[in-house]
């Protein structure tokens, strides 16, 4: 479990660095959490709140490895795109330009996360083309869980909170691997520890 936490830590740290560069502002990162969630209890972790989720399937050496998700509350999403686009109104609706900006941020962060974890694990993980939804967080996560390749009653979420206090942005980067991908992570990490 420590090694898994380290995996999430390295990925999230790289994602935090890229976010910080994009915003030209400091970004604080929480301790990465690994949560095992029974699907019936998902609503204790993700509710009805409106959020933007930029979602990528994990591809590369593993064709369907699970998902990596850039999650940001609707309010924070406006703060983020305002910072990027040089706007100030915090209560405006999100438009197509915001959607492009969110996808771009998600893309850069997911790539940074996967580059870093792939380097540690020694196999290539690439993000699929992105898909964005701005809707109820629970509904989006539930949809992803339903379409996982391997049917599950529990999901493992690698979740790290990324906060930019200056611009009031609170976001999360979440990895949700398939069961077989998780098993590969464990195997590689065990080998690394033995040889290290």
């Amino acid at each position: 479990m420590d090694a898994m936490q380290e995996l999430g830590n390295i990925g999230a740290a790289h994602a935090a660095t890229t976010l910080s560069q994009m915003l030209s502002s400091s970004v604080e990162m929480s301790v990465p959490k690994i949560k095992v969630v029974d699907i019936s209890q998902l609503s204790n972790h993700m509710g009805e709140e409106s959020a933007a989720l930029v979602v990528f399937e994990l591809q590369g050496e593993i064709p369907h490895g699970g998902y990596i998700i850039f999650y940001i509350s609707r309010k924070s999403a406006v703060h983020l795109t305002n910072t990027m686009l040089g706007l100030t109104d915090p209560d405006r609706p999100l438009n197509e330009m915001d959607e492009s900006a969110l996808i771009e941020v998600g893309n850069i962060m997911a790539s940074a996360f996967l580059d870093a974890t792939a380097e540690l694990l020694g196999f290539v993980m690439l993000p699929s083309p992105p898909s964005l939804t701005i809707d109820m967080a629970h509904a989006a996560m539930q949809t992803l869980i339903a379409q996982m390749q391997e049917e599950i009653d529990e999901v493992m979420l690698f979740s790290t909170e990324l906060v930019c206090a200056e611009h009031k942005i609170d976001s999360d980067i979440i990895m949700m691997p398939e069961t077989s991908t998780l098993a590969m992570f464990v195997e590689r990490l065990e080998n690394l520890m033995k040889s290290g």
Binding site: S43, S50, M136, A139, Q142, A146, Q147, D153
Partner: protein, 163 residues
């Protein structure tokens, strides 16, 4: 029945694969491709709700509420146990959205869930009185057996309406 029925009581939350039978308000929040199915007995004013995630159980029996093919007979058995008669039961469902265009096209689980629920209800001769399925948006569904079996659907912007 010892179930409290105070009108201001918080609804029973129905998580993925879970169900409830009774006369108290029930709610399934944030349905994407999942389906919130309600079956209401208009004579006895009790009902059941289930939160279905996938169309087909492929023989699995440990979580009957999770799959369309097992959830319907499972709920009906619970309602018959509670003294309900088939002739007075009506069903409503909501959910079954396709939220991710890129990933959704090849699978469209939401649509398959809805189709399967319709088919299994028909096999069991239960009337589907209303449905609100498909589209791209998430839904929260609430069910009020104590208010004539009212079913409301709410979207992310907070707007709610009865189906």
């Amino acid at each position: 029945m010892t179930e409290p029925t105070a009108p201001n009581k918080l609804p029973v939350m129905i998580g993925i694969g879970e169900h409830h039978v009774g006369s108290v308000p029930m709610m399934a929040i944030g349905l994407g491709s999942c389906i919130g199915l309600t079956i209401y007995d208009k004579e006895k004013h009790v009902g059941a709700m289930v939160h279905i995630m996938l169309p087909d159980s492929s023989g699995r029996t440990d979580r009957p509420g999770k799959y369309a093919d097992t959830a319907v007979p499972f709920l009906l058995a619970k309602l018959y146990d509670a003294g309900c008669h088939k002739a007075s039961l009506v069903a409503k469902m909501a959910g079954g959205a396709c939220m991710f265009e890129y990933f959704g096209n090849n699978l469209n689980i939401g649509e398959r869930n809805a189709e399967r629920v319709r088919a299994v209800l028909a096999e069991n001769h239960i009337r589907l009185a209303a449905e609100e399925v498909g589209g791209k948006a998430g839904r929260t569904v609430a069910f009020y057996p104590n208010e004539g079996g009212k079913v409301t659907v709410r979207s992310a912007d907070g707007a709610a309406h009865e189906i």
